[in-house]
């Protein structure tokens, strides 16, 4: 498959995102016509024209704006984290929760909901749970020295995820089936319906801090894809580089999951598609993953709140959209010689 020239994917990617953005603002339970939307944007951003009706302003700036921002941010960083994990683990089938971050955050959130804690505290425990799970996996991997470090990380991640998953099942069993169980289930399926602008003020800085090392080290990420010995022979300090990238990608993923619940497939599918469009060099793959990931989750969230009379869980939609995309990519990808 031929790669797109730089200007083509930039133009295509940004136009897609802009189109989705306008669509996301106009559709929903309170539809806003394009003319009204332009009027509201003109007044809010540039102070021109007439102010919109209060109901329109409330729908656009208090309900849809936080949600749209959260969808774009979370989609972008989950995809970037997925791309980084795939490069580090030399495997294009790796997703950002490979080291147990989702299971840890899921257990933390389930515990918070089970104890009836306020939402901000639930998010805090979920975030700590996600970091804690990955910390445990890395600790195990650091102690086991006589094997391939990447293999140990992946196996420990699978094992710890399974253990934490059992903990989640236990909490669901103990939870009150009429009040707590639905909220745990909905949290685990992911969604952005509860996001308010104050959540973003806490989460967005964490996401950006996590993203920073990936952006700064973007060329070096490629070298880890060669394998430890080759990278080392090329003069790369492999171990500190890998820990830095794991810490950064985990911070991104844990912050995203603690705000939005478990949203699968974005971090696996989007980097895959981005790689087909712009190639495997992480210098181009990172911006492409960020851009496509923002569009992907914005589209999925817009569908989640418009497709049915009730709000659909986002995790279900990303699977419904992501899995066919993934299988299509798998079927069409080049055969390795």
């Amino acid at each position: 498959m031929r790669m797109l020239p730089r200007w083509a994917w930039h133009a295509g990617g940004w136009s897609l995102l802009l189109a989705l953005l306008l669509l996301a603002f106009s559709v929903g339970q309170f539809p806003v016509r394009p003319a009204a939307l332009l009027q509201a944007i003109g007044w809010q951003l540039f102070g021109i024209g007439e102010p919109s009706a209060p109901a329109v302003q409330a729908a656009l700036w208090h309900i849809r704006l936080p949600r749209v921002l959260a969808a774009m941010l979370i989609g972008a960083v989950l995809s970037a984290a997925g791309a980084a994990y795939q490069a580090m683990f030399r495997n294009p089938l790796v997703s950002p929760d490979i080291l147990g971050v989702s299971a840890g955050a899921g257990l933390g959130a389930s515990l918070g909901l089970f104890l009836g804690l306020p939402m901000l505290l639930v998010q805090g425990i979920a975030f700590a749970g996600g970091l804690g799970a990955v910390g445990l996996v890395c600790l195990v991997a650091a102690m086991v020295r006589r094997h391939d470090p990447v293999l140990v990380l992946v196996l420990a991640g699978v094992a710890v995820s399974a253990l934490l998953g059992a903990g989640i099942s236990l909490l669901k069993l103990l939870a009150d089936p009429y009040t707590q169980l639905p909220s745990i289930t909905f949290w685990l399926l992911g969604g952005l319906n509860a996001v308010v602008i104050d959540d973003l003020k806490v989460t967005a800085p964490l996401l950006l801090i996590g993203l920073l090392p990936l952006v700064l080290l973007r060329w070096r990420v490629n070298l880890l894809g060669l394998g430890d010995e080759e990278a080392s022979a090329l003069g790369v300090a492999v171990t500190p580089l890998r820990w830095t990238l794991i810490a950064a990608a985990t911070l991104c993923t844990a912050a995203a999951v603690s705000l939005a619940g478990i949203i699968g497939w974005v971090g696996l599918v989007v980097p895959h598609i981005a790689r087909l469009l712009v190639g495997a060099d992480f210098r181009r793959l990172l911006p492409a993953s960020l851009l496509l990931g923002a569009s992907f989750l914005l589209a999925a969230d817009t569908l989640a709140r418009t497709l049915a009379p009730i709000e659909l869980p986002l995790g279900i939609l990303t699977a419904f959209v992501g899995v066919p995309c993934f299988l299509l990519v798998l079927a069409r990808s080049e055969r390795r010689p």
């Binding site: 030399r90 294009p92 490629n222 010995e229 022979a233 090329l234 003069g235 010689p337």
Partner: protein
Amino acid sequence: MNAAAPLLEARGLAIGHAGVALGAPFALSVQPGEVLCLLGPNGCGKTTLFRTLLGLLPAVRGEVDLQGTPLRAHDRAARARRMGYVPQAAPLPFAWRVREVVAMGRAAHLGLLGAPGRADEAIADDCLRELGLQALADRTVTTLSGGERQLVLIARALAQQAQLLVMDEPTASLDFGNQLRILDTVRRLADRGIGVLLSTHQPQHALQVADRIALMSAGSLQALGPAHEIATPERLAALYGVDAARVAAALPASGMPL
């Protein structure tokens, strides 16, 4: 040639894992412009020796000097600027372009947050041209044949701009034409003044390309000297545990001073 300082010199070197030596200590050196070829049966410790010389594995005993300075005194990047490594050409996990892979050889010349710029890309293109690979520059590495991939990895090692190249069985699993192409490349690089240390399973290849040959078994060097004095049917027969007459029949007569 002997007057020049060795690019790589090992003295009293014992190799092994976790402090346990595989065999007796030995000495070894690679001079500028010289091809030193390592022969030995499977499992004799060639890979362990390479990993030790590359600084990926600590020596059990003895010293390794890189251009007159202890290997340990160089940091990883300084080592990579003096010694290029050509691994066996396993398939790469991602569809990078050839030019991107060759430019990865510039890592040791760049800062932590740096990336190859125009000058580095120009060096990568020079290295590709030197090996006659300029037509491959924009291909993705997943579409290359095994021989092309091996040549690309040599180009990447050249982009390290090191005086010494270490090659792990560069002719393994290649067809006849590609084997000859790789051997000619090795010879040409040596004639340009680069020192090459390579391993192979083919004594004929060693005789074609090497100035000196080292025979390795049981984790140590058994013999090291001028190619035609070392790769005799008797010694090869002892090394690989087969009959000397059988070895003599398998080797091309032209290469053997019997």
